[in-house]
Structures are given as structure tokens and as C-alpha cells.
Amino acid sequence: MSNNMRSAVILTLKYVVLIVLAVSAIYPALWIVLSSFRPGASLFSERLIPETFTLVHYKELFNNPSFQYGQWYLNTLKIATLTMIFSTILITLSMYALSRFRFRGRQSILTAMLVLGMFPGFMSMIAIFILLLQLNLLDTHAALILVYSAGSVLGGFVVKGFFDTIPRSLDEAARIDGATHLQVFVKIMLPLSKPMLTYVALTSFTGAWIDFIFARLVLRTKENWTLAVGMWDLVNSFQNSNFTLFAAGAVLIALPITLLFFFLQRFLVQGMMSGASKG
């Protein structure tokens, strides 16, 4: 009997902890979503759930001439999609080469990748800025796409680790049947690495979607900005005076990424795991 009691108490405790954790996980998101529907502009509110709901802040984002939110949305979508395509191609092809072939200089390339990844990212910002200035690429989206895609290769260890786990006998068999390296890659490796591809595509898309450090440096005119830059500006200039507008903007930026994440969750976890077990 007492044993039963004890386990009942423990179970109740478990559920209490779970509920507390769930509330703290959900609360910030819930709060910002509800705030975006709240009339008025202030951060302070007597209650969590507003008495009346309004869409006025969302409308203002798209109608207010000083925001150009719609334009930023399109810019960001363009940059993120192209970055995703280019970096996925670059990463998978180069990691396929590094995982499958043994050639001179391979170890040095791997070590160089590792070492370069350890420098703080924006140590290189000033130099890239001047480089883009001299190439006349400042304030263009092409510059952002170029830098994001080129930089993404350094983070390819996860992909290499994944390719390492695919048995080599598969491609050797195809090679004996006369397939070229490119055919082996497209017809055998790619179909087998769908979770990895999804992982790489999603992380590079999200990376470009939310980067504001580099984007702020490169994009100088307002109509070229990305969402993250605009958002950062919004926060810096309006945070206290127009909090609900910030909330609406935040919801619109976070929504696509969060939805993508939940749809592709399975692939993400697999991708992370396969990188993890390899170190």
C-alpha cells in the first residue's frame, strides 16, 4: 500500500514538473503572439489574453511606408532560397569528395577546415566589407548569397560524417558497372542521404533567414534590407514605444521557420544524431 502511495506521489511530482516546464517553454511564444493582436502599443499589459483582438499591427507592417515589410520579406525569401540551393550543392559535392576519395592533400584540407572554423566569424567582416566594396558588390543581395554559400562549406563535417557511414561497396559496385563518379553521386549517394540533405538545406535556409550581423553591414539601403535587419532596426528604434508592432513583426519572421522545423523535425533529429555519433 505504502509502496503504491509512494509511486503515486512520485508520478504526480513528475507531472507537476512536466507541466511547469511546458508552461515555461510555451509562455514566451504565446505571450508574443497574443501581444501582436493586442490593441495599443505599450509593452505593459494588465492581462495575458487581450480583451479584444486586432489585426491592425500586421496591417501597419505592410502599409507603413517607413517599414517596407513586404519588400523585406521578398528579399529575405530570395536570399535564403538561393543560399540554400547553392550551399547544399557545394557542401554535398565537396563532402562527397572528401569522404569517398583518398588523395594527396586531403588530410590538410580537413585540418584546415577545422582550424578555420575556430576563428570568430566576424573577425573577417572588415576584410570582406572592403573586398565587396572594391568589387562593387556592396548593398547587393548577390554579395550576401556568395558569402553565405562560400562560408557554409566549412561547417560540412556533419555531412562528411554521414557519407562516411554509407557502405563503400555500394559505389564500388556501381563503378564496376561503368557509372561515372557524378552518376554514383546523383543516383546512389543522394537518394540515400535525404535526411542529411534536408538537414543541410534547412540549416542554411534558416541561417540566411535570420542573419543580421553580416546583412546589416552589407545592405545599406532600406529597400534592400532583409527581415532580420529590418527587425533589428525596429527593435532599436521602437522597442518601448511600439512593442505590439515589434510583436507582429516577430511572429511573421518566426512563423515560417518554426513551421518548417516541425514538418521536418524527423530529418533534423536524424541529421543531428549522425553528426553527433561521429564527433
Binding site: 508520478l11 513528475k14 514538473v17 512536466l18 516546464l21 511546458a22 515555461s24 517553454a25 510555451i26 514566451p28 511564444a29 508574443i32 505599450s42 505593459f44 557545394l90 565537396s94 562527397y96 569528395a97 572528401l98 569517398r100 576519395f101 586531403r106 584540407i109 582550424v115 578555420l116 575556430m118 576563428f119 570568430p120 566576424f122 573577425m123 573577417s124 572588415i126 576584410a127 572592403i130 573586398l131 558569402v147 562549406v153 566549412l154 560524417g161 562516411d164 557511414t165 557502405p167 563518379h181 557524378l182 533567414w209 535570420i210 550581423i213 532580420a228 522597442q239 516577430a250 519572421i253 518566426a254 518554426t258 516541425f262 533529429v269 543531428m272 553527433a276 555519433s277 561521429k278 564527433g279
Partner: protein, 436 residues
């Protein structure tokens, strides 16, 4: 002279000549075209590049009397000189590399001619390259991208640490920048204002990295075990709820948190008020700001470790637990002897990667507190600033470029020593070829 010698000497004289001599006409013309275009571009630039990198410019911007007018004369811009010099030198290095490769190619083809082997046609060469040299072909584009967009900028910044490029006295185009050797590093250690900030910020960086890594790791294990424990229903639902913080982009969640913890109007202080407790200076007091940063980091980081550890838990063979139960093990013993070693074994590499990542965790600090509250004893840094955010402020707000480069090098040394140690001991390095 034998054919290999002639081919090699011809190739050394002018790129492509050796190939032409070997009757590989298309290849030879292609190489010759490369050399011609390289010479056209390099000839006027190379001298200026060497001079620019060596002197960093000699003419200061100034005024000159032309007739009765004072006309401004543009001086040398040291930083542009340094960068364009570096680019030229990088291109030159690539060119020399190609040069050496063509000479070797001419030599080899000459050798096979002597042996009486047929010279490969252009099509055959192409087929050879796409087959045998496939990896290098695939890697050439990313390597060039990384060379100019990552390696060149890093070399540039390392060089900056050895100059006096800093406000207020040495900012081009108004004045020149000079090489100063190790003065910047010496200042960082010996000048009281710099060294106090450096030691303070570096200490907090290390403390932060340890606490941030440990709290998220242990938190992740506990949450994962809780979800997987006996008697808990709706496991999938709990999992989905707890993943939510991971799914929201950090940029957004951190800015939201900044409002949530707002000292005056934020809801957290509001709720504390309901319970009759006083308001807390979450972001404005040096101590509480550090607490807030660590708490918010747990909110963001625990879901990540939870997902990882849930994955590992499902991989533990069930019969191990059954065997332990037969032997009469309590649930704590099962945890200590089976679960924990399993988790540790597969996550130690990630743990160290996360630690290194936390040293460079820019976004949490920058977006949440921006390094504030201000610390009067520090030079251009606040109480929660990490080395990276300090570096960022020094570069973009205070134009202390040489000092920020020196700090960047220090960060690199710290992170590198951890990562290399980790990499060398990890299985994937030692047994790379054994898994396949």
C-alpha cells in the same frame, strides 16, 4: 636532350610551350592563354602590392598650394593597400601553383613519349580529369571561395593585430597606418585599462562557457529521462512541446526575452508583483544580468540536448535493462550503470564542441543584454560582455581594429586548443577508415 627535359624547360620558359612541344595543342594553347591573362593582370599590380604590404603607404593626405588655392591631395589609404596587396599575392600564389603543375605535366608527358606511349588527346585528358581527379575538381570551387572569403580575411585581420590601426590617430584616409610589431599584444597585457578589461572579460567568458554548457547538458538529460520515465503518458506530446524553443529562430526568441525581462514593464516582474515580491533588475544589475543570460540560455539550449539524449536513449538495447532487473538492480543502479555511461560515451565530443561554441556565443549576449550593464572599470565593455562581443564593439563602434584583432587571435588560441584536443581523441579521427 631528352624529350622530358625539353618539355619541362619549354614549359618553364612559358606556360603551355611544353604541351605544344608534346603535340597537345589545345591544352598548350589553353595554358598559354592562362599565362598571358595572368601576366596582363599581375604585371602592373605586383610591384604595388609588395610595396603596399611592406610600407602600408607613404603619402599622408594633405593640402598643397596650387596658385592661390589650397587643394586637398589624396594620400595613400593603408588599409586598401594592404587588402589589394594581399589579394594580388593570393592570385600570384595560385598562378605559381598552376605553373608548377603544368611543368610537371609537360615533364611526365615527355617521359611517356620517350617510353613510346601514345600521347593522350584532349578528350582523353578531359576524361582522365573527371575520373581520376574528380575530388580535386569538385573541391576547386569551394576551395577558391574559402580562400578569398575566409582565409584572406583572416590573414588580413591577423596582420592588423601588428599595426596601429585604431581610432583616434590612425584611421585612413586621414592618416597612415604603420607596422608596430607586438606592441598591441604588449598593450593588452601591460596597459592597466586594457589588461583589467581583458582579464575581467576573459574570466567571465570562461565561467559563462562552463556554466552554459553544464546547465544545458544536465538539464537536457533530466528532461529526457523525465519524458522517458515509467508512468508518463503522452510522451510524444511532451517532446513536441519541449522542442518549441529550439524551433523558434534565436534572433526572435532572444529579442522577445529581452522584453519579457524588461525591468519596468516586463511581464516577469509583473508576476513577481502579483505574488507580493519586489521587482528584480533582470537586465540592469551586473549580477542579475548574468543570471538572466544563463537562464535564457538554458531555455534555448536544453531542448537541443534533450533531442540528442532522447535519440541516444532509444539506442540503448532493452535487454541490458532486463538483465539488470533479473539481477535485482534498483532503478537508480540501472541509471548509474547502464544509462549514464551510454549517454556520456556518445556525447562527450558534442559537449566539448558546445563548450567551444559557448565561448563564441555571440547572439545570446549581444541580443539579450548587448553586453550591458555598463561597467565603469572596463574599456569599451560591459559586465556581461564576452570576448567575442567585446571584439565586435571594438571593431564596429570604437574603431579599435588592432586591439580587436589581437583579441580575436586570443579567442582562436583558446578555442583551438580545446577543439584540437577533442578532435584528436575522438573516434572519427583515429578510426576514420575503419567504419567503412
Amino acid at each position: 636532350m631528352r624529350q622530358r627535359g625539353i618539355a619541362a624547360v619549354l614549359s618553364t620558359l612559358f606556360m603551355g610551350l611544353g604541351q605544344l612541344y608534346n603535340r597537345q595543342y589545345i591544352k598548350g594553347l589553353l595554358f598559354a592563354a592562362i599565362e598571358v591573362s595572368a601576366l596582363i593582370w599581375l604585371m602592373p599590380n605586383i610591384g604595388k602590392a609588395l610595396w603596399g604590404v611592406y610600407t602600408l603607404g607613404e603619402k599622408t593626405q594633405g593640402f598643397q598650394k596650387v596658385g592661390k588655392l589650397n587643394v586637398r591631395v589624396e594620400g595613400d589609404h593603408s588599409i586598401y593597400l594592404l587588402i589589394s596587396g594581399l589579394i594580388t599575392l593570393f592570385v600570384l600564389a595560385i598562378f605559381i601553383l598552376i605553373y608548377i603543375m603544368t611543368i610537371r605535366d609537360a615533364y611526365r608527358t615527355g617521359k611517356s613519349r620517350e617510353a613510346g606511349i601514345a600521347i593522350p588527346s584532349f578528350q582523353e585528358t578531359l576524361a582522365y580529369v573527371t575520373d581520376k581527379k574528380f575530388p580535386l575538381l569538385m573541391l576547386s570551387v569551394p576551395i577558391i571561395g574559402v580562400l578569398f572569403l575566409t582565409v584572406m580575411p583572416i590573414v588580413f585581420m591577423i596582420m592588423l593585430a601588428f599595426t596601429n590601426y585604431a581610432a583616434p590617430n590612425n584611421i585612413p584616409p586621414k592618416s597612415l597606418v604603420d607596422w608596430v610589431g607586438f606592441d598591441t599584444f604588449a598593450n593588452l597585457v601591460t596597459l592597466k585599462t586594457w589588461s583589467a578589461t581583458f582579464i575581467g572579460v576573459a574570466t567571465w567568458t570562461i565561467i559563462w562557457a562552463i556554466i552554459a554548457t553544464v546547465t544545458t547538458y544536465i538539464g537536457g538529460i533530466l528532461v529526457a529521462l523525465l519524458i522517458e520515465s515509467k508512468g508518463v503518458y503522452f510522451k510524444k506530446m511532451w517532446r513536441t512541446i519541449f522542442i518549441l524553443p529550439y524551433a523558434i529562430p534565436q534572433l526572435i526568441s532572444l529579442l522577445v526575452m529581452r522584453n519579457l525581462f524588461n525591468g519596468q514593464f516586463g511581464p516577469i516582474n509583473q508576476y513577481l508583483g502579483y505574488f507580493g515580491l519586489g521587482k528584480l533588475p533582470w537586465l540592469t544589475d551586473p549580477f542579475w544580468a548574468k543570471v538572466t543570460v544563463i537562464m535564457v540560455n538554458m531555455w534555448i539550449g536544453i531542448p537541443v540536448s534533450m533531442v540528442l539524449i532522447l535519440g541516444i536513449l532509444t539506442a540503448i538495447p532493452k535487454d541490458m535493462y532486463e538483465a539488470a532487473e533479473v539481477d535485482g538492480a534498483t532503478s537508480f543502479q540501472k541509471f548509474r550503470i547502464i544509462t549514464m555511461p551510454f549517454i556520456l560515451f556518445s556525447t562527450v565530443p558534442i559537449l566539448i564542441t558546445q563548450f567551444a561554441g559557448n565561448i563564441n556565443n555571440f547572439s545570446v549576449i549581444f541580443l539579450l543584454t548587448n553586453g550591458d550593464p555598463v561597467n565603469g572599470d572596463y574599456q569599451y565593455a560591459g559586465s556581461t560582455d564576452l570576448l567575442v562581443t567585446w571584439l565586435y564593439k571594438l571593431t564596429l563602434n570604437n574603431s579599435q581594429f588592432n586591439m580587436s584583432s589581437a583579441i580575436g587571435i586570443v579567442i582562436f588560441l583558446i578555442v583551438a586548443s580545446f577543439s584540437i584536443w577533442n578532435y584528436r581523441r575522438s573516434r572519427s579521427f583515429k578510426e576514420e577508415d575503419m567504419i567503412q
